[in-house]
């Protein structure tokens, strides 16, 4: 067992966990933040994407202990009073069907918009589709997901 401490959604949290606890299990089971989903458990589907020190990562492929001292943002932490523009865009465009992949889609969407902005590149439809390679929607609702991210890219 070891003590891990990190900032999650702006709050410092500390917990004693089994050493090999995955970050996603720490977030879901210890912090009870269940917005971050586990889809495939093999780092393919992207339902578990969170931001670690500002970068999108699959939290099922990372140890909680490896995030010790890190700044983590989950889907619960993106809204600031009002919905985040990415959340609003998914709402406006019906960017979901069953909704299981949505938290990961939104976290990846925010990451790609931020990254393209920082690099001064244009995030067009083709770029969004390419960037979404790490997020799988089993309902195959990609069309509206892409539209949502396009809308948010214009508003963020």
């Amino acid at each position: 067992m070891s003590t891990v401490s990190m900032t999650v959604n702006g709050k410092v949290v500390a917990s004693v966990v089994e050493d090999r606890t995955l970050l996603v299990d720490f977030i879901r089971e210890h912090l009870r933040l269940t917005g971050t989903h586990v889809g495939c458990d093999t780092s393919q589907c992207g339902a578990c994407v969170v931001h670690v020190n500002g970068k999108a990562m699959k939290s099922c492929t990372m140890l909680a202990a490896a995030a010790d001292g890190a700044d983590v943002t989950t889907i619960e932490g993106v809204a600031n009073g009002d919905l985040h523009p990415m959340q609003k865009a998914f709402n406006d465009n019906h960017g979901l069907q069953c909704g299981f992949c949505t938290p990961g889609m939104i976290m990846s969407g925010i990451d790609m918009v931020n990254r393209y902005k920082a690099e001064g590149k244009t995030l067009d439809e083709a770029a969004i589709r390419a960037e979404l390679e790490g997020n799988i929607c089993r309902c195959t609702g990609y069309h509206n997901i892409v539209k949502s991210i396009q809308q948010a890219a214009g508003e963020m």
Binding site: D19, T61, A65, A66
Partner: protein, 282 residues
């Protein structure tokens, strides 16, 4: 954290080497291959997590070449200003999983994992890469081609840490390319892939390094094909199946059968060379 915990996260190489000398440990960096390989919720056995050793992350350049630290991620590699000889390695970095995996996964992990389909290996072979292995007994440097012994097998001793990957100055010339064939465009394990680094002067190939992956137990250079190119004007048609004969030992698996891999190997080499021909005429 002690041994009873079975998890160590040192912050220095010396500390890591102490642990490796004392215990039988699984080394973890980005963990992107480690977890799926276990097919379990948690890792079995004690783990040495080297992701906290900041000194091992990044690039060091001197007159002998460029050294890539063991915990350097694929995203780090994509973002780094590197000579165009690294072009193939950068393209391969973009093909490893997706962005979220590239943010965690490391080049050194890709090598130690030793998958025959490791995307990082063919480009590194064209860069004459060497691995630096550190232990309490000291350091040794060996060519990547000698480090990779077979599927999931390397020459790393249990007490050694792959500290970095060194690209000698002599291999920093020319342009690098990478081409991967998968069943779909994204998030896919290679059926076969090729890497090339060519030095072309006045339209003539002065130096050629070609490597193929996922077509044998380990990725391999293609010396016969390289020899066929050197001294000639750049032309993909210089290469045919005979130049690859003896260097391929593909298997049948869920992704493709051996006969298909053998056929596409030549095609991929011709296509990657076509990119150099295009860029020359452009």
């Amino acid at each position: 954290m002690g041994l009873q915990n079975g998890y160590f996260r040192p912050t220095s190489v010396d500390e890591a080497l102490d642990h490796l000398a004392a215990n039988d440990l699984t080394i973890a960096a980005g963990c992107t291959d480690l977890f799926p390989a276990t097919e379990q919720k948690t890792l079995g056995g004690p783990v040495l997590d080297i992701s906290g050793i900041t000194a091992l992350r990044g690039f060091r350049k001197n007159e002998t070449g460029i050294t890539i630290g063991a915990t350097t991620t694929w995203s780090d590699l994509i973002a780094a200003p590197l000579p165009s000889a690294f072009g193939g390695l950068k393209l391969a970095a973009r093909e490893v999983g997706a962005r979220q995996i590239q943010n965690r996964g490391t080049l050194a992990g890709n090598l130690c994992n030793a998958s025959p389909a490791a995307d990082g290996v063919p480009p590194l072979l064209t860069l004459d890469a060497q691995v630096v292995l550190a232990s309490k007994a000291g350091r040794r440097v060996m060519p990547l081609a000698d480090f990779l012994i077979g599927p999931r097998q390397t020459a790393r001793r249990a007490d050694e840490l792959l500290e970095g990957v060194h690209i000698p100055a002599s291999a920093l010339m020319g342009d690098g390319q990478f081409l991967k064939l998968g069943a779909r465009k994204y998030l896919v394990i290679s059926i076969a892939m090729v890497a090339a680094r060519l030095v072309i002067a006045d339209g003539v190939v002065a130096e050629a390094a070609l490597a193929i992956g996922a077509c044998g137990p380990v990725a391999a250079r293609l010396p016969k094909a390289e020899a066929a190119l050197v001294g000639q004007p750049m032309d993909p048609g210089l290469i045919n199946a005979s130049h690859l004969q003896g260097y391929l030992a593909p298997i049948d698996d869920m992704r493709a059968d051996a006969a298909y891999r053998t056929t596409v190997a030549t095609e991929l080499v011709q296509r990657i060379l076509g990119r150099f021909a295009e860029s020359r005429s452009a």
